[in-house]
């Protein structure tokens, strides 16, 4: 009973104190600065519609800064906000014109050594870095549209950049024409969900030394590589789309020095290389869709103990390539559209193994110019001969139970 009374009193106090928090509406940069100086923790500042010239503003109190429809903050070539207090909310503001610097990572919003900040429903246009989170845990970045204008690599920063920041939630954002759409370095226990990254100069999403993270339901289009996961452990990748990452040195998913991770229900469509695995250990790759890629899976010989099953490989130029003669990866129960075997006992599993590595893919890896022979009769014969009597391709790399119908 006493406990209930205490609860009620606490709630009432909470409601009362709510009234104490001030909400100030401002119309220009000067009144914004005054309001910021006079504000206390818990206050809100509403920015009326209009263009505000603001740069290098330190926000050191736990306040909310909310824009009206049409509120624009122009950095005039400099950085805009630095948030260094916990529980700050920045909402519904258009940021623009944060200049390029080779020495500093100038950003529209920099969250510095704090926690629990929330950046939502904002727009960023022509910002070097849009949101830069440094040593700040538990930040939420949602529903932002981030549109870079950089066409050259050196003048581009990352749209969302996290460094040494854990427990982040990055959701429903759209990033375009930056260096990386989302960049994570030394970030753990974070969720990246429902974002769209397109036309970024490097990667749509980039993990460096970032363990125990999940990314799901994202779409990566037209980047140099859709996603790069490097030097990371225990990354869960579910139901993402990797589309049209096409060109030389382009990949849907680039995996380098990664272990103990799962990759499931993803779609790889029209990428130069669907997945490139370099030093990948102990991955579970299942139920993915590979359609119309140049190379569906390219696996370096330093990758092992990976399980690749129940995937659909449909109309890829090369289904599988590997370097080296040995293979220590499990490949079984996949559907291969190029499978030419039969199923006499009608159990849904092909009666002869499928060998997805073609001899020609070997020739190409040593002599790239030979791609010109791709559709020639000679190559067809060569591949057929190798399939019947394997000499160069790894004997062990075959799907012993290929599926007759797609999963």
């Amino acid at each position: 009973m006493i406990r209930v009374i205490v609860y009620i009193i606490t709630i009432c106090l909470g409601l009362l104190s709510n009234g104490v928090f001030a909400t100030v509406t401002v119309k220009n940069a000067v009144s914004f600065s005054t309001a910021l100086q006079n504000s206390n923790d818990g206050d809100s500042i509403i920015l009326k519609k209009g263009v505000y010239q603001l740069s290098n503003i330190n926000i050191t109190k736990s306040i909310s800064i909310i824009g009206e429809d049409g509120t624009i903050i122009d950095g005039g070539g400099d950085a805009i906000f630095v948030l260094s207090a916990p529980n700050i909310l920045i909402e519904s503001i258009s940021f623009r014109n944060v200049g390029v610097s080779y020495i500093q990572e100038l950003s529209a919003i920099r969250i510095l050594k704090t926690k629990n900040c929330c950046i939502s429903n904002n727009k960023f246009v022509n910002c070097f870095f849009a949101i830069y989170v440094e040593r700040s845990d538990s930040c939420t970045i949602t529903n932002n549209t981030i549109h870079g204008e950089s066409s050259t690599e050196a003048s581009s920063g990352n749209a969302i950049h996290l460094w040494y920041s854990n427990y982040a939630i990055i959701k429903n954002n759209y990033t375009r024409s930056h260096r990386d759409g989302v960049y994570l370095e030394f970030v753990t226990h974070s969720i990246i969900e429902n974002n769209i990254s397109e036309k970024n100069l490097r990667y749509g999403l980039h993990f460096m030394f970032s363990h125990d993270n999940v990314y799901r339901y994202n779409e990566f289009r037209n980047n140099s590589a859709g996603v790069a996961v490097m030097y990371s452990e225990n990354v869960t990748m579910i139901a993402n789309k990797f589309i049209d990452n096409w060109g030389s040195n382009c990949y849907g998913l680039l995996l380098k020095d990664i272990r103990r991770s799962t990759l499931t229900q993803n779609e790889f469509i029209r990428n130069t290389v669907g997945i490139h695995l370099d030093n990948a250990l102990d991955l579970q790759i299942d139920s993915n869709q590979f359609t119309d890629n140049g190379w569906a899976v390219r696996i370096m010989s330093n990758s092992y103990d990976n399980q690749i099953s129940y995937n659909n490989f449909i109309d890829n130029t090369f289904e599988f390539t590997t370097t080296g003669k040995h293979n220590i990866n499990q490949v079984d129960n996949n559907y291969w559209s190029s499978y030419s075997g039969y199923d006499i006992n009608k159990d849904g599993i092909g009666d002869i193994p499928h060998r997805p590595v073609s001899l020609f893919s070997y020739i190409i890896s040593t002599s790239q110019a030979s791609i010109i022979l791709l559709r020639s009769l000679f190559i067809e014969l060569l591949n057929f001969a190798e399939r019947v009597v394997p000499v160069f391709t790894p004997e062990t790399l075959s799907d012993k139970s290929p599926l007759i119908k797609p999963v």
């Binding site: 080779y102 020495i103 050259t152 690599e153 050196a154 581009s156 460094w163 260096r179 370095e185 030394f186 100069l201 490097r202 460096m208 030394f209 140099s224 790069a228 490097m230 030097y231 040195n249 680039l254 380098k256 370099d278």
Partner: protein
């Protein structure tokens, strides 16, 4: 005439030269990443004239210290100064600051400078330790 051509050929083929790094197009020899940040690009040139490009000084050092290449094969090692992007300088003459508050592309917090004064300037602001090339190699040998 034949001699002249022979001499010309020898002269042309025997001068290993560095190549400018095409940021955003070239891939790092060690980590496969596109080389993007013009403050960190590095390069190794062999005596035969082969050029290996790297996205960071730490990738160059790791590559150099691994068995990929032997010291006797190297003609030039080049790095970029943090304060002077896009321009390659000799790695042996550089000074290196490892400071936990200065990120570098491959997570080693390693930034190169062409002069010790520049390195000290950043050390005063950001903290950390300064190394010359030999000391840097030793640091990586110990901390691998």
């Amino acid at each position: 005439m034949r001699k002249l051509i022979a001499i010309l050929l020898i002269i042309c083929s025997c001068s290993p030269a560095s190549e400018p790094i095409k940021y955003g197009t070239d891939e790092c020899k060690l980590c496969n990443m596109l080389i993007m940040d013009s403050r960190f690009g590095s390069e190794a040139v062999t005596k035969k004239g082969k050029v290996f490009k790297f996205d960071s000084i730490e990738c160059l050092v790791h590559y150099y210290l691994s068995d990929n290449i032997s010291e006797s094969e190297i003609s030039m090692l080049l790095i970029t100064s943090y304060t002077n992007p896009n321009i390659l300088i000799n790695a042996y003459d550089g000074f290196y600051l490892i400071s936990k508050s200065m990120p570098s592309p491959m997570g080693e917090f390693l930034n190169g400078f062409s002069s010790k004064e520049d390195a000290i300037k950043f050390q005063v602001e950001q903290g950390g330790d300064i190394y010359n090339w030999e000391e840097l190699l030793n640091y990586f040998k110990v901390n691998r």
